[in-house]
């Protein structure tokens, strides 16, 4: 069994128009910048994929990564909890112009919906959002005298994920708070594509320290020294570069 992919272009080749794509990360930490940029490269070369539904905690920052994906017009709908950032201009302008749809989900509900998608739980109840605009149209039920809102699972065709170490079986570790939504998205996607900073041999990750067991992963591509969104934004980077 060998899940290692030769390059970023191959890694994102299966994503088609209209698909739902989960993209890991919380702000810039854990954001798979190189995978996202490879998807942009493909779109600029072929016109596809477009009309994507993207699931991410945020809505991008600056003009790289998720913000760049949105700026290209590839994203029809965003499912997220917090579409604000230090430099949210790309999403904000497209949203206010009605060019991108937004489904706003409380952050804990977003995480739990994704886990539920991966765990075969089609619906669950949470106290979060009860009595608020975000619970409108959702079923409410009392348990032990407290009201709860029913939420549905969230699944995806693809997940684009950033991890730290990975082996050919798909076992993964993450780096500090870059873990965030990444392990959940591996679970909830039909095809989870992971960029890792380093590929190791099976056994190179302590079996006790595996965070994502390989069963949740379909493809692994090595990106040594991955870019940090925060660093790119401090350097006012734009993707693709204007010269292109």
């Amino acid at each position: 069994m060998d899940k290692i992919l030769p390059d970023l272009a191959t890694a994102v080749a299966g994503i088609e128009d209209g698909m739902t794509v989960m993209i890991g990360g919380f702000g810039g930490s854990g954001a798979p910048i190189e995978l996202i940029h490879a998807l942009i490269d493909r779109f600029r070369a072929t016109g596809h994929p477009k009309e994507l539904t993207v699931v991410n905690n945020n809505a991008g920052n600056g003009h790289v990564g998720l913000a760049a994906l949105i700026e290209q017009g590839m994203v029809a709908k965003l499912i997220c909890s917090f579409p604000r950032s230090a430099d949210p201009v790309v999403f904000t302008e497209m949203y206010l112009a009605g060019k991108i749809a937004l489904e706003l989900v409380p952050q804990g509900t977003l995480a739990e919906r994704i886990r539920a998608g991966g765990a075969g739980i089609p619906a669950f109840y949470t106290p979060s959002s009860y009595g608020t605009d975000l619970a409108k149209g959702k079923e409410v039920e009392e348990f032990d005298g407290r009201p709860y809102v029913r939420e549905r699972w969230l699944k995806a065709d693809y997940a684009l994920v950033k991890a730290h170490l990975g082996d050919r079986l798909g076992n993964l570790t993450y780096r500090m708070a870059a873990r965030n939504f990444n392990p959940l998205m591996c679970m909830a996607a039909r095809t989870a594509i992971v960029q890792v900073s380093r590929i190791v041999e099976p056994g190179g990750i302590d079996p006790e320290a595996v965070v994502t067991p390989g069963i949740f992963v379909q493809g692994v591509v090595e990106v040594a020294n991955p870019a940090q969104e925060e660093t790119l934004n401090r350097a006012k980077a734009v993707y693709p570069e204007v010269a292109q």
């Binding site: 886990r115 075969g120 082996d167 679970m187 056994g203 067991p213 390989g214 069963i215 949740f216």
Partner: protein, 223 residues
């Protein structure tokens, strides 16, 4: 030429259908033996409910580590790439559709795909374990079972009479006499031991046998 397959041969036969790279859960008892018969060149990855993926075979007697066991509480070993996880993550793998195959034992299987394998009735102590989760989670749920009970009664039936483990979940059955698919509410006979005619097999089966193309000979090597 086999008159009937031994349990070990049934496990061998089931193993032939496991593809390279498949994630597989093997039920306690007879199904556990399937792991021994992975065809050369194929690497299946075995999952056990109690939180191990990619474990290896049993250790030599006396070298067991009782923190490293499978769902049948038998000792297993580490392999490069083994991963540990807790029970909720383990059943997320099961229920979330991440396993390719689960192979279980059976008291009874119905032509509807219903399975009964956890309770022989109201007497005694009932015990279900992970079977009710496995039958709804794995992409393919197969069963290994003798074709008939010890006293000669059919185990493949129109309807199960014992308490169900799952409804419409089994898609393939490996018996001591035949290999059958379950599709559209029918048993489709794929292979049978050459010693028995179709009609003879039908008399030992509690539901109508259908065919769809060739019925191949079921032969297994001495294993």
């Amino acid at each position: 030429m086999n008159e009937r397959l031994t349990p070990t041969q049934m496990a061998w036969r089931a193993a032939q259908d496991i593809t390279d790279g498949a994630y597989v859960n093997l039920g306690i008892g007879l199904p556990e033996m399937v792991a021994k018969f992975q065809p050369p060149g194929r690497e299946a990855i075995f999952h056990t409910e109690n939180g191990i993926l990619g474990f290896g075979e049993a250790p030599p007697p006396g070298q067991e580590d009782w923190d490293l066991i499978n769902a049948g509480k038998k000792a297993v070993t580490l392999k490069p790439g083994t991963a540990f996880f807790h029970h909720a993550d383990s059943f997320a793998m099961v229920r979330g559709g991440h396993l390719d195959v689960a192979i279980l034992g059976a008291y009874q299987v119905a032509e509807t795909g219903d399975l009964a394998n956890w309770s022989t009735g109201p007497k005694g102590v009932p015990a279900v374990g992970g079977a009710m989760d496995l039958v709804h989670g794995a992409r393919r749920v197969a069963v290994i079972t003798d074709h008939v009970t010890k006293d000669g009664k059919p185990k493949l039936l129109k309807q199960c009479t014992l308490p169900l483990t799952g409804v419409g979940c089994v898609t393939r059955v490996y018996t001591s006499l035949a290999v059958l698919d379950i599709d559209g509410g029918h048993f489709i006979l794929r292979e049978k031991v050459p010693a028995l005619s179709f009609d003879e097999l039908q008399t030992m089966t509690g539901a109508r046998l259908h065919t769809d193309g060739v019925v191949a000979d079921l032969n297994a090597p001495e294993v």
